[in-house]
């Protein structure tokens, strides 16, 4: 991990050839964007020219072409916008609530590791509950509004956070603990100044995974009982065989997922700039 900075052997900072390094970084950054977006454009082009239709023997009512999806998005922009906010609030609210609950459980367990470990294992078993079983129950408990979908998402996300954060809180370098003990630091000081800080990378990893899980939870939750949202619109339009609008929902949901993931990533970079994965090369 140290060779990224300066060689261990030298006791001084090696001067960087700044101009050269900057140029190389710019080039690699550019190619990091160019290649995937070039591939994306090619993919859309083949789709638009019905390449996939020919290969898989599909008709346009089965797989609408990108231009007709774009037209459909433009025609339904108001409803798609309001449904995105609706589903987005289920995703974000549920994910934050579930992750927070998981984090609290992990923190509590880390203070009593012996009994806590069992509690975390129990919580991990929540992941075994299938969403299709959970959704009707939650709708039954919390009605067909935002709350039931948030509950589904919370249940789906809390175990991941609890397991990951607990692992982070417990895997502390023992010498660091000895160091804190040598200052006669209390349990809470060790938690605040050492355990929690070094668990943060684990917390963010769980949060990123949870963001993706939450989208599935919210949309599938809406399939069951809902009168609004992207998931509701998607299942409704498929029943009506209005494929361009159904595909619009899929595209918007995917965009929503990318945006939310990116937001978590930006926050991560701001909160733990010191972490090895965040360091600028």
């Amino acid at each position: 991990m140290k060779e990224m900075a300066v060689p261990q052997s030298a006791d001084n900072i090696r001067p960087k050839p700044a101009a050269l390094k900057k140029g190389r970084a710019l080039k690699s950054k550019r190619s990091a964007y160019l290649l995937p977006s070039g591939f994306g454009v090619l993919f859309l082009l083949i789709w638009q020219l019905k390449g996939f239709h020919k290969v898989f023997h599909l008709e346009q009512y089965q797989l609408p072409i990108p231009s007709s999806i774009a037209v459909s998005i433009r025609e339904n922009v108001d409803v798609l916008w309001s449904y995105s906010l609706y589903t987005g609030s289920e995703i974000v609210g549920g994910c934050l609530a579930g992750s927070l609950f998981g984090l609290i459980a992990a923190v509590a367990a880390s203070f009593f590791p012996r009994t806590g470990r069992g509690g975390i294992t129990l919580m991990a078993s929540l992941n075994a509950v299938p969403i299709v079983a959970l959704a009707p129950v939650m709708n039954n408990w919390f009605g067909d509004g935002v709350a039931s979908k948030m509950a589904i998402v919370s249940v789906m996300t809390m175990a991941t956070m609890a397991v990951s954060a607990f692992k982070g809180l417990r895997s502390i370098d023992p010498t660091s603990i000895e160091l804190m003990n040598s200052y006669a630091a209390g349990k809470f000081q060790i938690f605040a100044k050492l355990r929690f800080r070094s668990a943060l990378p684990h917390v963010f990893t769980a949060l990123k995974i949870n963001m993706s899980t939450s989208i599935i939870g919210a949309i599938v939750g809406e399939f069951f009982i809902s009168s609004r949202g992207l998931g509701y619109l998607l299942s409704d339009q498929i029943k009506l065989a209005n494929m361009p609008l159904a595909w619009s929902c899929i595209v918007i949901a995917a965009l929503l997922g990318i945006i939310l993931y990116y937001i978590v990533q930006v926050i991560e970079r701001l909160v733990i700039p010191w972490h090895i994965a965040q360091r600028k090369q």
Binding site: V6, D11, T175, L179, S182, K193, R279
Partner: protein, 270 residues
């Protein structure tokens, strides 16, 4: 240095200390009946091969471990008291810096734990950073520093509470030879300025001979005090010690302790 031992004040008394690890029946004896004294303002090295329990001994002094038998007194108190009153600073082989803290913030960690206000200690931190020569790196993160610089931060951090005792567990053994010599010189300079009692664990004979007033030579399996070598370091310019006749004589003396032990040379000198 040439005071009689009775006139000197014993800072650390290790009395008949034994340490065993593991479950009953499968115990490993790390230390057996270890006794010695360390006097105020002394620089004492605990020297020995791997497995002689020298790091364990240091952790016993720091109250990070408790002895199976015997006792340790530091300034006439149990190590627990001494630790709770933060009367020693400790430096490990691994710098053990917190990755999320800058150089300055790492040095301020013990002061923060103590609950002091930032305004109270910011001048002190600046002074410590200056002392270890890292003024232009105070806002750097540990990963941006070389190994030697990281260990300098760890030393400054150990000094931040101005403890009378400094415990060092092979602090330079992971560094290359050039950096090591530089830091050894700097440590002597710090010792001259602060006059702390320093207990220094090492497996390097030249390092112990270069730095110490006295060397406690330990032998392994189980760890015991083999011998104690007095009056090791001569007064004078530390940058020329290594070239002196006396340094080489001392090296021979200490080295012979080990060869005697292993029966390798049957007591003849090299």
């Amino acid at each position: 240095m040439h005071l009689s031992q009775a006139a000197k004040k014993a800072e650390i008394i290790v009395d008949q200390v034994s340490m065993r690890f593991g479950k009953k029946g499968h115990e490993v004896t790390a230390l057996q009946n270890v006794s010695f004294k360390i006097y105020r303002n002394e620089f004492v090295s605990l020297l020995g091969p791997s497995g002689c329990g020298k790091s364990t001994l240091l952790r016993l002094m720091a109250d990070l471990l408790e002895p199976t038998e015997g006792q340790i007194m530091i300034q006439d108190e149990h190590p627990r008291e001494v630790r709770l009153r933060r009367k020693f600073g400790i430096v490990f082989q691994n710098p053990t810096l917190f990755e999320w803290r800058t150089v300055k913030q790492n040095i301020e960690l013990p002061l923060e734990v103590l609950g002091q206000k930032k305004s109270q200690y910011s001048a002190l931190t600046e002074q410590l950073i200056e002392m270890v020569g890292l003024s232009s790196f105070k806002h750097y993160y540990p990963w941006q520093l070389s190994g030697g610089m990281q260990q300098r931060v760890a030393i400054a951090r150990a000094l931040s509470l101005d403890p009378p005792i400094l415990l060092m567990d092979e602090p330079f053994s992971a560094l290359d030879e050039f950096t090591k010599e530089k830091l050894q010189l700097e440590l002597l300079e710090i010792k001259r300025k602060t006059n702390k009692t320093i207990v220094f664990v090492t497996h390097s004979i030249p390092e112990a001979v270069y730095l110490s007033d006295r060397i406690i030579v330990l032998s392994a399996h189980p760890g015991r005090v083999h011998s104690i070598v007095d009056n090791v370091r001569e007064e004078g310019d530390p940058s020329h010690i290594r070239e002196s006749e006396r340094f080489h004589e001392m090296m021979k003396t200490v080295r012979n302790c080990f060869y005697e032990e292993s029966g390798f040379l049957d007591g003849q000198t090299i």
